[in-house]
Symmetry: C2
Subunit: 333 residues, 2 copies
Amino acid sequence: MKRVTIKDLAKILSLSTSTISRALSDHPDISEATKNRVRIAADEFNYTTNVHARFFRNQNSRLIALVLPELNMFFTPNLIKGINKTIVSSNYSLITFISNDSYKREKEIIKQCMSWAVEGVLISLSKETFDLSHLEALTKANIKCVLLDKVLDNEQFPSVTIDSIEASYQAVSYLIKKGHRNILGIFGNSNFNISQERIKGYEKAMRENNIPILKENIVSVDKSKNLDFILPPILNHNKNITAIFTMSDELLAKSLYHINSLRLSIPKDISIISISDGDYPYLTHPQISHIKDSGSKMGKSACKFLLNSITKPSLSQDSGLIVSTKLVELESV
Amino acid sequence: MKRVTIKDLAKILSLSTSTISRALSDHPDISEATKNRVRIAADEFNYTTNVHARFFRNQNSRLIALVLPELNMFFTPNLIKGINKTIVSSNYSLITFISNDSYKREKEIIKQCMSWAVEGVLISLSKETFDLSHLEALTKANIKCVLLDKVLDNEQFPSVTIDSIEASYQAVSYLIKKGHRNILGIFGNSNFNISQERIKGYEKAMRENNIPILKENIVSVDKSKNLDFILPPILNHNKNITAIFTMSDELLAKSLYHINSLRLSIPKDISIISISDGDYPYLTHPQISHIKDSGSKMGKSACKFLLNSITKPSLSQDSGLIVSTKLVELESV
DNA sequence: GAAAACTCCGCAAACGTTTGCGGGAAAGAT
DNA sequence: ATCTTTCCCGCAAACGTTTGCGGAGTTTTC
């Protein structure tokens, strides 16, 4: 069976398509009586407006694209939740793409975004992305684009992130305040902007407290799995380490595993703090003190920012915004 | 700036729109020379085909809708990954909706799916969904629909799930084989089809081994958080319990927290096994034996099934399929 | 009682793409 | 030299929706 169109309703009710269209959008030119007839018929034949045809006429797709490098269990679900909430309440729809951390795929995705005539793009960059030239096509096509989470410093596109330097600074400062001086920092791939900044925050906290920064106390791993080979030797040999800072939930989880494996007790033998989305730290025992970096909040903010710049293109020429983080003191320090 | 259309390219190259269209789709009627001119121009002005207009002409949107009741950290990411992989390799795009476990919202979403003229719908039902009448509109509009994970027994729509009875039967049988007789079963909301079946599997395993089924050893909770009040008293008072079976990662996580809180050692003091997506059990120490219920695999299967029934509507009149599960023996029993 | 105002609805065009059909030009066949 | 074939390409219609404009019928105004 083919879908019911306005034309069909027009024939059925012996009205013109224009009248149907206006009746459905509650146009004042149409009498209540007619409106009711139309509405009842539309319901009966379960007519729904064809958004492609509407776009075709109006040139607004009411579609937002979300481009993610990957889906991980710790951050992405809440990020999407936050975005989705905003999308829904603004009557948009969300089309999702995953770049698998591939620059090539990311470029293809951008083309697809243009094909779909999305009104805005929310993108978290792939590992392999070091310049933003592929996004310029969006600008030319007048499609707004907001970077979030995994971003690159740039002048063209606004970014929504946390203040990574500040977050890790907070975390490490907290450890220091609690008396720790020999602090192991565990970070992601150091090519990442995000990792570099979090390392900076670590170093800043150390420097401010006049604690020497030891190269061997800063660990960068491409995948959390690499910790399997790196962490146990460190924990076994370097008995001076009294605290660990991990820059993400994923690294936290892996670290906890090895800590527990070695039968170290938290926080008696070793303390640990992490930057975290804020769900995982409550699942472990003891619960992990962390700097809360809410994915949901970031998603919401980024999405609102994007929608704003779509509806009021004049106004929002900001370079983006910083989502605040806060220390959650639990039981691991 | 407005987007570049075929019309624009036609003007620029002094060709007709039909020639441009055919050149871009590599039609044999067009000479290589012309094709190259067109391709170069298309690249230069970064033309991308307007999929809405194409749909308008061809009536195929190449869009698949994914409707989920919620996003949780344990199952959803891998489910989406599996779906996405299949979608991408088949040149479709994915539009995602979240019902927040609301029937009302789910109905709205179905309408939106029709508005978007999606070619297929993958849906995991909300908690509040007890009949499928709202999906009939899809059938009428000739939109294929496949239920996955959270499903309802029915004749109209194919389902893709695991064999819940078998999975929990496997888990509990394994515990029994290892010598456990006093087994606590922890399940989700018992309104759920999925919970009911997993309870059945538990009971089946017990019955087959002539172990009396104790009402108080079957716990159903609406939210995993409810375990906070339920589990500690049980673990404290009912010292006979030597093993726990949880029907999901979420319940597993909560249970582990309380086991660790009470300083019970796994598997010395108590054993535990779960049905799991298979990521989380490796993060804990000790690692948790589980029945692997791969979200990725389920997503892939469901999606392939859907795409199949779209391209070959005649063939696939099956009632769905069962994704296999398997026991992963780790360290918790 | 005629003009003015108001109510309600239809006409037709436009959005970008695809595709059946047809046609002109060049090349080959007779 | 004429006819047929082949090679390229253009014409035009259709998909469903919205909206400015105009118009027929009814009511109000002086």
